[in-house]
Amino acid sequence: MGNQISLLLVVIPLIAAPIAAVLPRGRLPWLLACVVASVCAILAGVQLWNVLNEGTISYELGGWQPPWGIEYRIDALNAFVALIVAVIAAITLPYALLSAEQEIPEEKIPLFYSALLLCLTGLLGITQTGDIFNVFVFLEISSLASYALISLGKDRKAFTAAYQYLIMGTIGATFYLIGVGLIYSETGSLNMQDVANILPSVLHFRTVETGFAFIMIGIALKLALFPLHLWLPNAYTYAPSAVTVFLAATATKVAVYVMLRILFMLFPQGFAMTTPAEELFIVSGIAGIIIASVYAIYQSNIKRLLAYSSVAQVGYMVLGIGFASVAGVTASLIHLFNHALMKGALFMAIGAIIYRIGACRMEQIHGLGKAMPWTFGAIVVGGLSLIGVPGTAGFVSKWYLVSAAIEQQAWISVAVILFGSLLAVVYVGKLIEALYFKPVSDTGKAVREAPMLLLVPMYSLVFANLYFGLDTDLTVGVAQQAAAILGGIGQ
């Protein structure tokens, strides 16, 4: 039973997706999606437990032995990422009910949940599979579903945002595909473990280097690494609230995972050092942190503000990868987890404001903090976590990131990480000022607190932010174990 879980995590949402599409309108599709996501979250938890206790799990699809068949290979790293995705899905779906009923036409609700489940299938699939071509297939399943989900937004700009994302996402995926083809032509294998064994003997071929470059650029597009982030702000701004919560907390994280896996496991020890990849990661990480944070300060749409902040946070994760040390990758993984918590909570709170007032421009939210105290509280905690105030999850990730930078004696990076936090103080401060210190408009006085069904998922993430700011056993412990698995990391 133990190793079947890896496949069940992909198959259950995949089967549920078409069922959700044909269910009658009303709340039945939502109920199905909720149950499926919760089951996945429990299974992912069990899977991580099994991996931590028993070591790597391997599942051969259809009984074909690797490297010929597709193998699902689960270690602490991907079990950890799968757990993040599944738990965020399980928390987002209860939240989605009311916000989707308000933002999405009734006849499209079953299709909405169907697409959400497909997106979940793709994201979980990427984490489970041990086959580089299979990664491409799941990448496209999740991407196609997310293009459709983004286009469901109320504003007509949602269509252009989805189109823009589709074009850039497809170019990214095709670059990845070219890279996989070139690697296959040198190794004759697609199984990650097998490719990792063969690659050292063919490393001197230019084809391998070209394949590496194509894969890295393709994934950098998918994870919205600055300056390839142009699709992200629009996509997050105009997507329905629940979709923004889900994508912001999972999609880029899974892309970071793929990058880690390929950089440090597929390619042999120290290979990345021989290419300009590490320097490029550090440079674009630094540029992303500063420039995207400055952009965030000047946004008048609060969803867009947080979207730019997401680009900056991706910069932190990539910076950690760029250090190419165990400490750097650990910090990157911790931030991956914590950022999912804080952005999830923040976008949920923004979604609650949109649920009440139907808009999210800076001047329209003046003084709403008093009318919606609980939602405001969530924004404050999420914002503090984003800044990295001690006692919140954000502090833990910043702490490990700074330690990793000091270990490398990368003083510029240390300065940038701290300066990035200062910039976060500015944009979070702007948000809180508008919500709390600006006078309430007349329409604002009539606004009531968000309904319980929005607050409960929101606060489960808010408490997670506080909890993982104090108790770091799970996050740091698992991240360290996962980072140790990536054998290719140099010393």
Binding site: V137, K157, T160, I167, Y184
Partner: protein, 118 residues
Amino acid sequence: MDFFIGHYNYWIVIILMMVGLYTVISRGNLIKKIIGLNIFQVSVFFLYISLGAVEGGAAPIIAEGVKVYSNPLPHVLILTAIVVGVATTALALALVVRIKESYGTIEEDEIHNLDHSL
């Protein structure tokens, strides 16, 4: 010279790839962008198909008297990629229909103007 003629299929791949990518970047018409994207994807299909071909190899169906077969795996992989490409194109076209319905145009600069004149 042999380098050029012997690898003619790869040269076609590179040319198609550049044509496709350039079209996506330079054209403002949303349909033309999709066409460019398709050309770009097709070039990758060619790349994979070329990789699978073995000189003098027959189609990978076991038959008497045949010793050398082409490698079927890249061809199977690219079947999957073609399906993905078709799905992407369908979704992109559907989005263009919705954009045309709500904006009345499919030119990128006109859409941009409409969004910013409000």
